[in-house]
């Protein structure tokens, strides 16, 4: 509360010059391994600063350099240029190899989010083991989304900023092949006609909701 007031008060004073703001954003982004939101930049910089504009300049400045300014969801980070990965063998962290089930589950969550467990099971045609979901949650690549407003109010899953950061995606809309899949109707939650043996049965009412949720997430 009091910060809000401060902000209004202080914005009457002059903000630092843009070049200086750019330096500040640069320093903050360099200092941390995690992506930083514009909001947080704003809260750490002198009042009246416009980190969003500073980021435009900074991003341009690092274009083609050994490290780049990248957007991750609604946050920003500095990452080494992917073509220099070969120099970093020493820094490479052995990532746990994901099982086929985990990779598929992750892809389904990313492309169909927000998606319920029942929907994941319907798509894969097999039940999703608790361990698979737990592993993805633990890696912080997925998290719980809003509950679906259908009977039972099932939880949904969505991908996280860490997921976007890990795969170098600006946002979920940039997922490879997303447009094509949508055009082909493969992201629709098509209710099965009649009596198909169905693991995710009972969740078909959710169809409209899913569409809505998807739109929310994937559209500007």
């Amino acid at each position: 509360m009091s910060e809000e007031i401060d902000h209004k008060e202080e914005s009457l004073f002059e903000a630092p010059p843009m070049a200086e703001q750019e330096r500040m954003v640069e320093a903050i982004l360099f200092a941390t391994a995690e992506p930083v939101t514009v909001r947080e930049l704003e809260s750490r910089m002198p009042h009246g600063s416009d980190p969003a504009e500073a980021l435009v300049y900074l991003r341009k400045r690092y274009n083609g350099r050994g490290v780049n300014v990248v957007k991750v969801g609604d946050a920003w980070a500095i990452r080494t240029a992917p073509d220099l990965g070969f120099l970093m063998r020493r820094e490479t962290v052995e990532t746990r190899k994901l099982s086929r089930a985990a990779v598929e589950t992750l892809a389904i969550i990313a492309y169909h989010q927000p998606v319920t467990r029942a929907e994941i099971e319907e798509i894969r045609g097999v039940s999703v083991s608790r361990g698979t979901v737990d592993q993805l949650l633990e890696m912080e690549w997925i998290r719980f989304g809003r509950r679906r407003m259908t009977p039972g109010r099932p939880v949904t899953f969505v991908v996280t900023q860490e997921f976007l950061d890990h795969f170098g995606l600006e946002n979920a809309r940039d997922l490879p092949g997303l447009k094509e899949l949508r055009a082909a109707g493969l992201l629709e939650n098509r209710p099965p006609p009649g009596t198909m043996p169905q693991l995710g049965e009972g969740d078909t009412d959710a169809e409209e909701e899913t569409q809505e949720g998807q739109n929310e997430l994937f559209e500007d």
Partner: protein, 262 residues
């Protein structure tokens, strides 16, 4: 799914194909459920998934389950459920539609199965694309020496003019209490009340609301009224204790009434 995938698989009758079928059975544990098995079987059809022959696929699946039974392989329940459903689908597709029968047609069911297979395949394809992307900590890296942000908690103290004045009043009041001198402007003390009531109860032969004993000038100002009410009440209790008056109250919060005791 690209054409290449299908090109590698020969005609149904080839030795390689039969060996593959054997391998399917032995590897049944390796399948991620019946849809996965159907997808694998579907690859033996030299077609795009969108034009897959569901009838043929159903037959392949049923043949597979049959073969597994011969080999006395334990198949998980969902594989058998799928087999039963595919048998049903097969009969629907083969028999002319019965106009009296309700529910979706065989074609509709087949189309949905084809959709499910295509959707699963599409998820597999994008999963592979996703995993083939440059990844953090593999192709690109974050800062190796993060400079920690130190959390500084800054506490600012504040007070209002009211706090200040109340604080001062508190001290000065305390001062006044020390010599036991009170500002009696708004105070009607117990002694005052006793004195007043002793003089008045002689007239209280009938039940009278004690509030009528409040002195003049103590009935309008809330602070004075409060003080007078309290001391009058306390004085009434004192007089009752002395046996001079009786008190009664008909119910909670009702007026307290007083009568001289004869």
């Amino acid at each position: 799914m690209s054409e290449d995938d299908f090109d590698q698989i020969g005609p149904m009758e080839s030795v390689a194909e039969r060996m593959a079928a054997e391998a399917l059975i032995v590897d049944v544990d390796g399948f991620e459920g019946p849809l996965d098995l159907l997808l694998t079987l579907g690859r033996t059809q030299k077609v795009d998934l969108r034009t897959i022959s569901v009838l043929e696929l159903a037959q392949q699946y049923l043949a597979f389950v049959e073969r597994a039974k011969q080999l006395r392989l334990e198949l998980a329940a969902d594989y058998l459920v799928m087999a039963a459903w595919l048998a049903f689908l097969k009969s629907r597709l083969l028999l002319p539609p019965d106009p009296t029968e309700e529910g979706p047609s065989g074609e509709e069911l087949a189309a949905h199965l084809a959709f499910q297979l295509e959707r699963l395949q599409s998820m597999r394809d994008v999963a592979a694309k996703l995993m083939a992307r440059d990844q953090l900590g593999r192709e690109f890296f974050s800062r190796g020496i993060p400079e920690d942000v130190t959390q500084v908690r800054k506490i600012t103290y504040t007070a209002t003019l009211l706090d200040l004045m109340q604080g001062y009043a508190r001290i000065r009041t305390k001062d006044e209490f020390r010599p036991y001198v009170m500002d009696r402007d708004a105070i009607f003390t117990l002694e005052n009340a006793l004195e007043r009531m002793r003089g008045l109860i002689g007239f209280a032969g009938t039940w009278t609301d004690i509030s009528t004993y409040l002195p003049d000038g103590f009935t309008t100002d809330p602070a004075r009224r409060r003080s007078a009410t309290a001391s009058t009440f306390a004085a009434s209790l004192e007089l009752a204790k002395e046996g001079k008056v009786e008190l009664r109250q008909s119910e909670l919060y009702a007026p307290i009434e007083l009568r001289r005791k004869d």
